[in-house]
Amino acid sequence: MIMLIRSLAGLIGGYLLGIALAGLWTHWGGSDAERNLSFAMLFIVPVWIGALALVFAARSTWYACIALLAANAVCYSILWALPAIAIVGPP
């Protein structure tokens, strides 16, 4: 059961984290958003697998879930807040 919870946490949290980091790179990777996005899509899977591995390596399942949730919250806050207050323009 613990393995199943960890797998689901890693699969969902890792996927969302990969997407968020790719979104951040598309905003800030350089002036050419199309090229940024092409590059950013390449590291979604490694981030996803890395997050999954960290969830399984963590001592406690809850600690892993909360850490992943926090990482996602930080990334999505930056993604949604900064364009809204016009610090970063649309890609």
Partner: protein, 522 residues
């Protein structure tokens, strides 16, 4: 690394491997066959063996016939050089895709030139043959979990990598033997597995990643960027001014000025006869990692509009082309493809041996193994060996004089019946008996393939060699080698049943009477 962390990583490696072993076994076994897709096609479709390649004049004649007989098709139609001596045109008519080729100057439905079986094996590789998108996403998620198994496995074994690599202890301890074999194959083929896990996930769940980026991260701005990144040239708008299109030979020459090694395989015409009309010429290029490319030209003037060939590619196309080349071994020659074939089979062995290890390492000392372990053994045998048997039978059925077996539906039905039949058979039999019988059946069908081919087409081994049909010759030889391997495996498993640990689920039921009551389910 702390022992506690190592223990957790070991659990992760086991969990990830066991939970995806069946999916990845089928994907790897089918994938190793897709490496030789052109050769499989030639074996499956005997008509393709003696077909000469179509010429630019054949393309011109077909284009003229289609555009005169079906004027609405001028807006959009394709010409495939395919595997026949005559090219095939296809276009949409009343929402339906229509295909035709020329026979004595008349448009007729194309003969049997495409192989439903080689298409199906490719589909089996990335969707397991499951309908819709579900199979593709399932394989994609399995690739991500497989990535976890690789990362965890690497972290566990990194300290003793070299020591473990050469510690193949073949002796009385069978569990140790399987563990050493599993580690050795895993370590030796690690770069290949990393490439497969990564590129496999990228291909199968690209849509999920693009949709996630579009919806969650970039609020609808990712889709147009992605679409534009993969576009070789913008879609043409008809200008309304008539212009005579150039002869295909002239267009090919114009494309070759951009990519001299381009070998055209496919033409995609848009707004034929219009001054703004285009033709996108797809083909194979040599001397580069990415061996496929396309060039968009104005069909009336031959002017270059866009190109996606090595050296002139958008990063998105370059990345996907590189991944495709690395995933299917398309960058190399025959030796590379044989290496990929061997590594693919070794990968299938890795997943099968991983599942066996899981069952063996949980074996109780007393007779009567838990229901979970027996079920796991039955499913491993049925799903994995069943998929090998299903493919062997589908190849055999393809050579029978019943055309339906070679159709898309026929191939799916034959494979599905034998695969699911094997799962039910393995569920009803003691696992070891089912394994032996399914292995013998697979061996028999694989060994029969060269004979069936010789009967159906007359191309026996000696004739194929004498006439230089090396694809057919090597296919037959490989079928014999694979058949012999399955035969030897069946004999080895039978020996294991007689001489192995009595309490194992792999023991012959006669030697483990305590199990026998619950072994026969049907």
């Amino acid at each position: 690394m702390k022992p506690d962390t190592l223990r957790r990583l070991h659990s992760a490696h086991t969990w990830a491997g066991v939970s995806t072993s069946w999916i990845l076994f089928i994907a790897f076994f089918a994938g190793s066959i897709t490496v030789f897709s052109p050769e499989v096609h030639e074996w499956v479709v005997p008509q393709a063996r003696r077909a000469s390649a179509p010429t630019a004049q054949d393309v011109a004649a077909l284009v003229a016939a289609v555009t005169q007989a079906h004027p609405p098709a001028r807006a959009e139609f394709d010409i495939s050089l395919g595997h026949s001596s005559q090219p095939i045109a296809s276009w949409y008519s009343a929402g339906e895709r229509v295909s035709a080729q020329l026979a004595d100057g008349v448009l007729v439905p194309p003969g049997r030139t495409e192989s439903a079986l080689s298409e199906f094996i490719l589909e089996l590789h990335y969707t397991l043959g499951l309908p819709g998108e579900a199979g593709m996403y399932l394989v994609g998620i399995a690739c991500v979990i497989y990535g976890l198994a690789l990362v965890a496995g690497l972290l566990i074994y990194v300290r003793n990598l070299i020591g473990d690599l050469f510690a193949w202890r073949a002796g009385r301890n069978l569990k140790q033997f399987w563990r050493d074999a599993h580690t050795m194959v895993g370590v030796l083929s690690l770069p290949f597995h990393i490439t497969f896990a990564y590129t496999g996930a990228m291909f199968t769940i690209f849509v999920l990643m693009a949709a996630g980026l579009d919806r969650f991260a970039l609020q609808g701005r990712a889709a147009p960027l992605i679409e534009h990144a993969f576009e070789v040239a913008p879609a043409p708008e008809p200008g309304g001014e008539a212009a005579t299109p150039l002869h295909p030979a002239v267009l090919i020459a114009a494309a070759k000025r951009v990519a001299p090694s381009l070998r055209p395989t496919f033409f995609s015409y848009r707004h034929y006869g219009d001054a703004n009309g285009t033709v996108q010429i797809y083909g194979q290029v040599s001397g580069a990692l990415i061996q496929q490319g396309s060039i968009v030209l104005n069909s009336a003037s031959g002017a270059l509009i866009g190109a996606s060939v090595p050296g002139r590619m958008h990063p998105a196309n370059a990345a996907s082309g590189t991944m495709l080349a690395l995933h299917y071994g398309r960058f190399g020659g025959f030796v590379t493809r044989w290496m990929y074939f061997g590594l693919g089979l070794a990968g299938a062995f890795l997943f099968y041996s991983g599942a066996l290890l899981w069952i063996e390492s949980r074996r109780r000392r007393q007779a009567g193994q838990p229901r979970l372990h027996r079920s796991m053994a039955r499913l491993t045998v049925g799903l994995c060996i069943g998929s090998c048997l299903g493919l062997a039978v589908t190849f055999a059925a393809n050579q029978l004089p019943v055309a339906w077996f070679a159709t898309d539906l026929g191939v799916r039905v034959v494979y599905g019946v034998f695969w699911l039949g094997s799962v039910i058979f393995a569920w009803c039999r003691p696992p070891i008996r089912a394994a032996i019988e399914l292995l013998y059946a697979t061996a028999a069908f694989a060994l029969a393939l060269p004979i069936l081919n010789a009967i159906a087409s007359g191309d026996h081994l000696l004739r194929s060699a004498a006439e230089g049909h090396w694809a057919v010759f090597w296919f037959d030889m490989t079928a014999l080698a694979v058949g012999m391997s399955f035969l030897l495996l069946a004999r080895a498993v039978a020996r294991r049943a007689r001489a192995g640990e009595r309490n194992s689920v792999w023991a012959a039921p006669a030697e483990a009477p305590a199990n026998s009551e619950s072994e026969h389910r049907c």
